[in-house]
């Protein structure tokens, strides 16, 4: 039983309706959909590992200005006031809404950071063909936290807040906002260039070759 199941089967199953499908090689640029429920099964990407590695490295660098610089500011009676990712969390916490503060912190800072770090670690290991005993755990974590990193939603929040403020005061936009938008683009591109099927196959191959050596 165990020996038999270690051999890869030439089947796929739809994750949303469990229809059994014959596994087929899909060319880049083609989307494979489930014929029964229409679920997107697989969409192969060009240079997925290389792109993910480059993008996550870029994202990590962009995280520094995004964290340090203010996003937007207003001027009230010669008194400048800024908002950054951190100050929003801090004001909510000071007000006693620690639950909301924690959620904003996780969705706008912690999970995006973790997503970039994990992508960097995984794609880096795959790129240099190095194995690591935690590769599978990293990959599983990355898949689960994907929807909890909400920078694109935060961007809409910034837009709505700016529109509300613009009617009353003058707004100032800093480099922080530019860095934030760049980080947002990097994260969106990272999500779309990461080919999960390819990553799992390569992780599996690395783990197997490591097992043979020992």
């Amino acid at each position: 039983m165990h020996n038999n199941s270690m051999k890869p089967l030439a089947y796929e199953a739809c994750p949303q309706c469990d229809l059994l499908l014959n596994a087929e090689a899909i060319a880049v640029g083609i989307k494979a959909h489930c014929p029964r429920c229409g679920c997107l099964l697989y969409r192969p990407r060009h240079y997925s590992i290389e792109r993910s590695f480059a993008l996550s490295l870029t994202g990590l660098i962009l995280f520094i200005p995004v964290n340090l610089l203010p996003l937007v500011g207003i001027v009230v009676l010669d008194n400048a006031q800024d908002a950054s990712l951190w100050s929003g969390v801090a004001s909510l916490y000071e007000e006693g809404l620690w639950g909301v503060a924690a959620l904003v912190f996780l969705a706008s800072l912690f999970f995006p950071f973790l997503k970039i770090m994990l992508s960097l670690l995984i794609s880096g290991h795959l790129y240099f063909r190095k194995t690591h005993r935690h590769l599978s755990i990293w990959m599983r974590t990355l898949q689960h936290l994907d929807e909890w990193a909400m920078l694109e939603v935060y961007t809409l929040g910034i837009i709505v807040a700016c529109v509300k403020l613009a009617s009353r005061t003058e707004l100032k936009f800093g480099f922080g906002l530019a860095a934030f938008i760049a980080l947002l683009l990097v994260i969106v591109m990272l999500s779309s260039s990461l080919d999960e099927h390819l990553f799992w196959r390569r992780i599996d191959a690395l783990n197997k070759s490591a097992r043979k050596k020992t």
Partner: protein, 217 residues
């Protein structure tokens, strides 16, 4: 990908790993669809736990959905934001915030906020209720449409956080006590909880439960 034989993988003793999509064989399953004793517990490829279907999917989704419904009431009754102008506090609920935007002539933004903080949570909660109903009553028709509803709910969930993020920016930026001050109200916690609970409910719902009833009597 082509259809193998129009049957689900589980009914043919095959099991898909939730994490990496690897297909393994199971000899037998318990009544709750977990692999029976003596069969695989962990995926041979990614070492994640194997389940034929998400564990206790129906119960978990129902419980999370009920909590979300209950919290939706305080989220709409209590003020989500309190704007103090020249010392006069002016509480805003989600709806009155949108009305204020419309009165200010900002129709596109008002529509955006309305969709994100009123329509999306409602669609999500009603949609999940319909999905649970369909599983419970073994609907055999429109399964494809129901799966599309599931995908829509899973995609749209996070966008309701818009209001919470907007408030976090306004709270930190408008804090000069002299003229104007913005504080987050008690509804913010309730609304944030609704968003998180509905996201968790959508994650714990397994759409394959809909298809498992197909042709099984």
């Amino acid at each position: 990908m082509s259809i193998s034989n129009k049957k689900s993988a589980l009914r043919q003793g095959l099991l898909r790993c939730h994490n990496c999509g690897y297909i393994t064989t199971v000899l037998s399953t318990n009544t709750d669809n977990t692999p029976a004793a003596g069969t695989l517990n962990h995926c041979p490829r990614c070492d994640g736990e194997l389940h034929a279907r998400l564990p206790n999917s129906f119960q978990r989704t129902a419980a999370l959905l009920c909590s979300a419904f209950i919290l939706y009431i305080p989220a709409n009754i209590f003020p989500i934001m309190i704007v103090t102008k020249f010392g006069v506090p002016e509480p805003h609920t989600i709806i009155s915030g949108i009305v204020a935007l419309i009165n200010g002539g900002m129709i596109p933004i008002a529509t955006l906020v309305f969709i994100a903080s009123v329509l999306v949570p409602l669609i999500k909660m009603l949609g999940l209720s319909i999905l649970l109903w369909a599983v419970q009553h073994r609907w055999q028709r429109n399964l494809r449409l129901l799966t599309v509803v599931y995908r829509l709910i899973a995609f749209v969930g996070r966008w309701s956080m818009l209001d919470i993020f907007m408030i976090s920016i306004l709270v930190s930026i408008v804090s000069s006590e002299a003229l104007e001050q913005v504080l987050a109200g008690p509804a913010a916690t309730a609304f944030a909880a609704v968003v998180v609970l509905t996201m968790l409910a959508a994650n714990s719902f397994d759409p394959r439960l809909l298809w498992d009833r197909l042709g099984a009597h």
